[in-house]
Symmetry: C2
């Protein structure tokens, strides 16, 4: 009587997890400082001090009954209000608390949004390269995830391929910018063009097409630039945000979903998310984390380390002769492997204690991802190793 | 394209929520001290001081990268180990960490357990009176919840009705002891008899029948008694625990699921729960709460207040002439209404600012629930009002 669906999921082990487990085994042999593990997207800069201060002050000053009490199904009103206000000020939106749904980080936000707007028989389109966890989120709604091939020239959107794949069955389009794994930041021009096509297709098909925008890296943009706010370009946008990367709190499972007030079903979608949460027995994110992030909404961890690492790796990789688009944000870089088979390439790199992730599961075979949320000192020590690997195995550099 | 299933759930508003909203409106008119709100099961005694101490010490002493980092999909190993050890010592079990799955409180534990072992076409049996939220948890798996009528004499199990309803389609039996809303504590005799029937039926049908045991009130038992540990009676038991009531932390969404090591699929079920969490985008409960509860596993809030309230209400209700089984635990009491229609009865009580919950949605029409997790002083002030209501409306007392 064990349900086959979940049993099957156990078979498909994550490539990233498998690699990071191999890295851990190797680290036990030669010391973790000697393994250049670029596999995991776990923030490497600590949470800013204001987070600890906010949490301790809540614990010390608030009545424990109020602090640890049940959150309403749709989230704590003061928290929803603070989030709406911050978004309105930063991005010129006009969210009210009724458009905000606090949720356990971006994963839950995306899964809730997908459950609200897609079902069996529907299609959800996303753009390669994409985060492989989109598969379980879409699969469990009964819809089918279709992957639009990558624009490998700039890792913006491959529009000709998109226009060929969008159809009457398309219920939602799922984007991620700044992008994991490419590090690309979708430009205003890209977002405008995407919105134009969606508007036109909504009209043509006579039904809504929702834009689900996965934005955990929204604040991690380099060179003093900013990510244009996706929801400004298209009314039927559901923004999925997490504090995991911005505040270096991935284990505290806190984020929110924000539905554009111009979306005719905005309040309904938020209410439905409450029912989805109820059905999966998840209810709200913790009261403490809701209240804590509301106190530090416009703060972030120190991202200058990621930018420094990006520069070191980009310069070294291009110097060696890798084909690589310069990441404008996140903490990922996404070069083309030095042979067609990126899995074989990453396997060979392992012999140099370089842990790189082949991008086959990201929908972009032939490429690999490096997550440079690691100490800069380690990045520096890895550069000669990268050079030696490329030279000895591929005669490059 | 908004999914009808969740839209429909919005229509069926919780009776408890509706009542408690009416109580809030009345409180705004006459002051909350004058509304005797017995509707909500929100703990009324604060978390013990050790919880605050544990959380502050984690925040002050742990490296924020480790403290706030991702929890493994199956939970933090040290936390799982501590939970297993505590259960083994208290209940003579032999859990290993591989049998423990930290999860966002009992709601999530039950929803995960149901998804792991039941699916479309299956039936899940539960016993009236039961917690109405079981409906969404079961409904969203595609299985059907069947409610065995109550044993109104003692609120143990109505075995003749159960034996009539159990069938080849029964995938799981869902119990809750100490029970919300009756306050009954299933005896060892009840649990032995239940296990005997389940074992016999497993053999007869040639498939597993899982016992899903919802145990958030496990420690709230009065008169120095204890709840016999359900899993000791039956191998295929999945225990669903929450710290919400035991530590007065309902908003912090922390609990666990523990599968009896004698269940042949124990480790598989825990692994599948990891995949279920992944699919709903929920992942783990927060790292901070996992680590905090692991430090205070054998502590509880002060339940003597609930026992005092139980005594006050039981004595008054029986004196008035209510038919009521004395609760042995929880913070609920479950009398028979003074007219057949408990909804009408509770409606009339509202005119006395007594907020009582009719038990129709608990599968026990004609009864009502009082959640006495309120200040004792308020309980005392409510007693003459209860007497006046029974006297004036029903000529009782």
């Amino acid at each position: 009587m064990i349900v086959q669906q979940y049993r099957d999921m156990l078979g498909a082990k994550s490539v990233i997890r498998t690699l990071s487990e191999a890295a851990a085994v190797r680290a036990a042999q030669i010391g973790s400082q000697n393994v250049f593990d670029y596999s995991l997207g776990n923030p490497s800069v600590p949470a800013p001090a204001c987070v600890k201060e906010a949490m301790i002050s809540l614990l010390q000053e608030e009545d424990p009954m109020a602090l640890h009490g049940y959150s309403p199904t749709l989230g704590i009103p003061s928290v929803k209000e603070a989030i709406a206000k911050s978004l309105n000020e930063r991005f010129g939106m006009n969210y009210g608390p009724e458009h905000i749904f606090p949720v356990s980080a971006a994963a839950a936000a995306i899964a809730h949004a997908l459950r609200a707007v897609s079902k069996e028989g529907d299609e959800v389109l996303t753009f390669a390269p994409f985060f492989p966890e989109y598969h379980p989120y879409v699969d469990l709604t009964g819809a089918v995830l279709k992957v639009v091939p990558a624009d490998t020239a700039r890792f913006q959107i491959n529009f000709p391929a998109f226009e060929e794949m969008i159809s009457e069955r398309t219920a939602a389009v799922l984007i991620n910018t700044p992008n994991n794994p490419s590090g690309a930041v979708y430009s205003a021009q890209t977002l405008e063009k995407l919105a134009g096509i969606l508007l036109e297709k909504q009209k043509e098909y006579g039904h809504d097409i929702f834009l689900i925008s996965d934005e955990p890296y929204r604040e991690i943009v380099f060179d003093g630039k900013e990510q244009p706010y996706v929801s400004r370009f298209y009314a039927n946008t559901i923004s999925c945000y997490s504090f995991s990367k911005a505040l270096s709190l991935p284990g505290e499972r806190i984020g929110y979903l924000a539905v554009n007030p111009a979306c005719p079903d905005a309040a309904l979608i938020v209410n439905m998310c409450g029912q989805i949460s109820r059905g999966i027995g998840h209810n709200c994110p913790t009261s403490l984390m809701q209240l804590a992030v509301a106190k530090v909404l416009d703060q972030t961890a120190d991202f200058s380390i990621y930018e420094k690492n990006r520069n070191l790796l980009y310069d070294c990789l291009t110097d060696i002769g890798f084909e690589v688009v310069k990441p404008e944000g996140t903490f990922y870089i996404f070069p083309k492997a030095l042979e067609e088979d990126a899995v074989a390439f990453c396997q060979k790199a392992l012999a140099y204690d370089l842990v790189l992730v082949p991008a086959d599961t990201f929908g972009c075979p032939g490429y690999f991802r490096m997550a440079y949320c690691v100490d800069t000192e380690k990045v520096e020590r890895s550069l000669p190793v990268l050079r030696r690997f490329a030279k000895e195995v591929y005669g490059r550099g």
